[in-house]
Amino acid sequence: MNPDFAFLVEVIVGGLLSGVMYALVAIGFVLIYKTSGVLNFAQGAMVLFAALTFVSLLERGLPFVGALAATLAVMVVLGLAVERAVLRPLVNQPPITLFMATLGVSYVIEGAAQLAWGTQVHGLDLGIDDTPFEIGGVLVSRFDLFAAGVAGLMVAALTAFFRYTHTGLAFRAVADDPFAALNAGLRLPRIWSAVWIAAGLVALVAGLLWGARLGVQFSLSLVVLKALPVLVLGGFDSIAGAILAGLIVGAVEKLSEVYLGPFIGGGIEGWIAYVAALAFLLVRPSGLLGLRSVERV
């Protein structure tokens, strides 16, 4: 294979795989936005909290499975607590107020996580070595592949859940039309609680993978900033959109870093994803999957 072309493929594959990681965070947003219309900025703080709790328990000598179970329990409690204490009293408030409230929540969670577990950087080893291996002349990171696999499993599980379970059907009903759902006898508070738990679990998965990649530290809560352009591109309310957009954003980011970076200076990954998402929306205002146009002119 032509080495230039092989390099291009390598960049794209690397980008796509890191895009999966973005999508992982974005899915947490989508779950909550879809069912309750809340853009939950605290999702990043939840990712940090999950990773920090898990790694700290591990360091205190708990076995892997035990730490995982304990963190799972903590995330369930956290999701329930946030929903009950913050979101439920604010039902029917404008979206901006809800967004601000979740920002306040993210302060509390970040503060509490670091107060409880300290501010130093923890390494997290999931037991997957990060040695790249070669497929047809293209180097691929083993860890990235593993992350993509986990993300795929999670999406499959979520899809199955939405499609085949009673609660999943209720989720979809609420997302479709909350008043009709209420009228049909669905108990909205119970569904909101469930969805916050689900978001907590997604945060745990994202936290473990991101934590293993970057080290568990405060900056982990900043992964939300990676997820936001993905959400704009894919739509706040579409899991499939989040995945597709995650892949696109990941690839665009890597490609521009490699091919554009030398001309306009490094460090552009902070904003290039946003610009790319905007440019795309200007061409196709209905977004990636053309789902809806409520929030778009």
Binding site: L90, Q93, G104, Q114
Partner: protein, 320 residues
Amino acid sequence: MIALGIVPLVGTSYLYEAILTPFLALALAGLGLNLLTGYAGLLSLGSAAFMAVGAYAAFNLSLRLPILPLPVTIFAAGLVAALAGVIGGLPALRLRGFYLAVSTLAVQFFVAWALNRIGWLSNDSPSGIVTAPRLVVAGISFEDARGRYLFSLAVVALLTFAAWRLVRSPTGRDLVAIRDHETAARITGVRVARTKLLAFGLSSFIVGVAGVLWAFAYLRTLEPAGFNLDRSFQILFIVIIGGLGTLRGAFLGAGFIVVLPLILARLGAAILGDGFDSGTLEMCQRIVLGILIVAVLIREPAGLTALLDRAVGRLRGRAA
């Protein structure tokens, strides 16, 4: 409403330096954002970027065109910020709500990147941190703590008055019309696209001047890190906590956001003693601030202005 800006002219220099001057700068930024978010209903998370544009524009103007008097420099810096606002507001023509809010993050990150990358903007200072020029107008120096406060007060009073006039003008009503019902506004002859960009321009002008005050009168240095995303959120907090769509709200919100951390720091130091390291204290402050924000939102989603109005109404009712 303007009377709120008038604070007793007695006080220690600590009061001026650490509380009143940053309060004024942030209140002005909140005022600017409130025009955009509260009146026109357009959400922006890029306020700190517009502050940075204003501050760095003023710095470069006074560095490269020292002949300009300071008020002209500040006005021109506001215009540069307004231009940045109009460009940053372009997505508003096609996006709404959170889609728009996230789009303005592009401005936030792009400006931060540009300030770090383009050395010319910070006069090739290796750290990116530069000293602000002296505050001198027509030979009168405003260099001491009180002078810088008075300077800020004058600017804020002027712009608050202008904003007050604006929201009562036909243009101000156009903004509210777009917020409340865009289609209806369009039918009644409001030029929606033009008005939205105008809102971004006017708002960014004020926010940009607030950035000048923040850098020139309060910090007296400029650094890109001072205008990060946290600052943008802080300004949005000011607007939401204070009350959307009210000019007073920005001042009440800024009071809450500026004074509260100071009280918390004092309280924390007093309660926990010196044995605690500053890191722990900072975390506790963050938690308490978060809880308070959530508490205010739950107690009074319409903001402190509504709370104040109700309290005043109750007092009047009792008196009658």
